[in-house]
Subunit: 204 residues, 2 copies
Amino acid sequence: MGRTVGSSGPRTAAAIRRVGLRLIYRRGFEAMTLRELAAEVGIQAASLYNHIRTKQDLLFDLIHEHMEALLAQTQAALADAPAEPVERLRAFIAHHIVYHLEKKQEVFVANFELRALEPQHYATIIAMRRTYEENLVALLDAGVAAGAFGIRDTRITAYAILAMLTGACTWYKPEGRLTKAEVVELHTDMVLYGCVPHSGEKRG
Amino acid sequence: MGRTVGSSGPRTAAAIRRVGLRLIYRRGFEAMTLRELAAEVGIQAASLYNHIRTKQDLLFDLIHEHMEALLAQTQAALADAPAEPVERLRAFIAHHIVYHLEKKQEVFVANFELRALEPQHYATIIAMRRTYEENLVALLDAGVAAGAFGIRDTRITAYAILAMLTGACTWYKPEGRLTKAEVVELHTDMVLYGCVPHSGEKRG
DNA sequence: CCCTTTCACTAACGGACGTTAGTTTGTTCG
DNA sequence: CGAACAAACTAACGTCCGTTAGTGAAAGGG
């Protein structure tokens, strides 16, 4: 009834975050109970409080960490990308899709459970999402200025592109028919050229 | 303490559905409590059970009704549309967006609260969604067969299109900068032509 | 105008929830 | 090797949950 043999703080903390993410993804934040989480981690519900401050804090931490990683990796990917607008857009699309397919659970939680966040936490995450969107808007603006894109409203277009790309998370299965590269290729073509073929078009 | 003056069954039932939809949309199905719902309707929590069987049934009814309306209206819109693939796709896009912008709350609930449904209810709704998607896949298949579309994978393309169009719900505000017609136009251009302009392209 | 039906009420049940308090035991490090 | 810390335990608190039971007054059709 005291500390258990072989227990390790960091290991338990990591397990809580890993299991918590999976449970919130599968059942929703409100539907997941701390007793359920604790049972899957292999400890008592009260013991969770050695590692988290509140249930709400766990949710915020998970989302916040995800957003920070997304922003950092995106900055890195764009820094490596060429300056030419179409190639730069290709790089953004590839990065966005690969990241989102690999972090499916995090993406779902960050998108679907925002409303469960308290106002201040909510505002923080929304600001980070806005920053992320701004990357794409700026990229599109630059392309329009260079005459590479025929877009009337770069912000709405950015929203449309992001919605389309992120949507791939909802059906993609690693063991499915398509590879990640094929998903990237298909969506890149959609974003760049749409459904209607044109003379002189080059694809792939 | 019996029946209250001016009470009307159908009116209360309608209010429960209307308020319930709004609360589930704003707070999530698990987070919304029946006491909260009852308070906004103006009755006691126990009185809800004169109109609903369980909380779960209320959710299912709301989603099911929405899906039936969506399917019916889509069939009607496609029946009225011309046979030419591009025009047919335009009609689908316009109908999807207008319907989804007008039924924002229903769309959110039907997409985000699916996991709160019991297995059988869940299966029913998923089947209806599949039917809806099939409309677009068939439309794209016909267009590919006619040489009107340059698409490699009509199913994935359909998913991508639907994700993009439905995404407009997340930012659209009736009092915002863009009219519904402008949203339709912008998304139609995106779906048909993408971001990169081509020689001889006609838009609008 | 009465009689049935409808629709609200009050009261409460059993259980689950997030969280706190207090205790005990293993781990770690000077 | 013993003190200080870490991390688990049991027990419980107060609250809220969805839901049921039982009752009585208003509504509405003949």
